[in-house]
């Protein structure tokens, strides 16, 4: 076996092993409000694992999904950002680390932040595609985090509705064409004290959920929320 094939083999093995990396690139800034300009932060918890060796991250590129506008990147300790455009539309943001700053091992955690106006799509989730590059024996090796599959899932940004009253009662109507599945209630209302539809109530807090179950005249909200449903949310 020639050294070239051996190196290629190591790379393939490395890519396979990196696909079962310990942690994903994630959204560390939490859920984002729909149709608002705000900062979104990617958390890069690990570098690349190639052939049993661990390497520091040298470059990260995040593709900007359709519907995100007004993109601006924040400078990071990691490195200087570059906006990649198609005409006037920003299609990606890339942060590259100066070669001299690359660590000898995979010891760094990086927050990479950009600001953008999110799509007007409350109660939805957006999967970002992130290209994570490490330098292995002088060569760039890139792992692509994308989709929702189990292998290399991309970071998922949850879009929640705007709040008129951040610390109190909010009356919302589920928008036309939107369904909030029962199994996503905890995702979209993670920080709500309680959610009401008529006399049905939901809470992610186990103690409150127990009180819902034991309060006369109140039933647990266990079904989907459908378009047109009026709900009260207490934050």
């Amino acid at each position: 076996m020639s050294r070239t094939y051996l190196f290629a083999g190591v790379l393939v093995a490395g890519l396979l092993s990196s696909s079962i990396a310990l942690a994903h690139v994630s959204i560390s800034s939490g859920p984002a409000t729909a149709d608002q300009s705000q900062k979104i932060t990617l958390g890069v918890g690990h570098g690349c694992e190639i052939g049993g060796e661990h390497y520091d991250t040298a470059k990260v590129r995040v593709d900007i999904p359709t519907g995100f506008t007004g993109v601006r990147a924040l400078f990071s300790d990691f490195g200087k950002p570059t906006l990649i455009r198609d005409g006037s539309t920003v299609t990606a943001v890339e942060w590259a680390k100066p070669a001299a700053d690359i660590l000898d091992g995979d010891d760094g955690y990086y927050d990479l932040t950009f600001r953008a106006r999110t799509p007007n799509a409350p109660f939805s989730q957006v999967v970002f595609t992130v290209h994570q590059t490490c330098i292995v024996n002088g060569e760039e090796v890139t792992v692509v985090w994308t989709g929702t599959g189990a292998e290399n899932p991309g970071p998922v940004l949850t879009l929640i509705p705007a709040r008129t009253n951040p610390k109190g009662w909010n009356k919302l109507t589920i928008p036309t064409g939107v369904t909030v599945p029962a199994d996503k209630m905890g995702t979209y209302f993670a920080d709500a004290l309680i959610v009401w539809r008529g006399t049905e109530a939901f809470s992610t807090n186990a103690n409150t959920a127990a009180l819902i179950a034991s309060t006369p005249g109140v039933t647990a909200l266990t079904g989907d929320l459908a378009a047109g449903d009026v709900i009260w949310v207490r934050y």
Partner: protein, 73 residues
């Protein structure tokens, strides 16, 4: 003149000694130094005094503004 002297005496009495600590207020400064369980204490030390909802029923502040109307429907 006697009225003036009386008034002066009253003023002196009103503005004079206020360090006696016998006003009857339940202020902290009046608490006995070796007070027992009745003394003021942080919530961490007196968890049973924290506000709690009635057992088994949602507290009123978790009921939505139109809850009564919703029950009638």
């Amino acid at each position: 003149m006697r009225r003036l002297i009386l008034l002066a005496a009253l003023l002196v009495g009103a503005c004079g000694d206020d360090t006696g600590g016998t006003t009857g207020d339940a202020g902290v400064s009046d608490a006995p130094t070796d007070a027992g369980p009745q003394a003021l204490a942080p919530c961490l030390d007196t968890p049973t005094q924290l506000a709690r909802p009635p057992e088994g029923v949602l507290p009123c502040d978790l009921l939505p503004p139109d809850f009564a109307a919703a029950r009638r429907r």
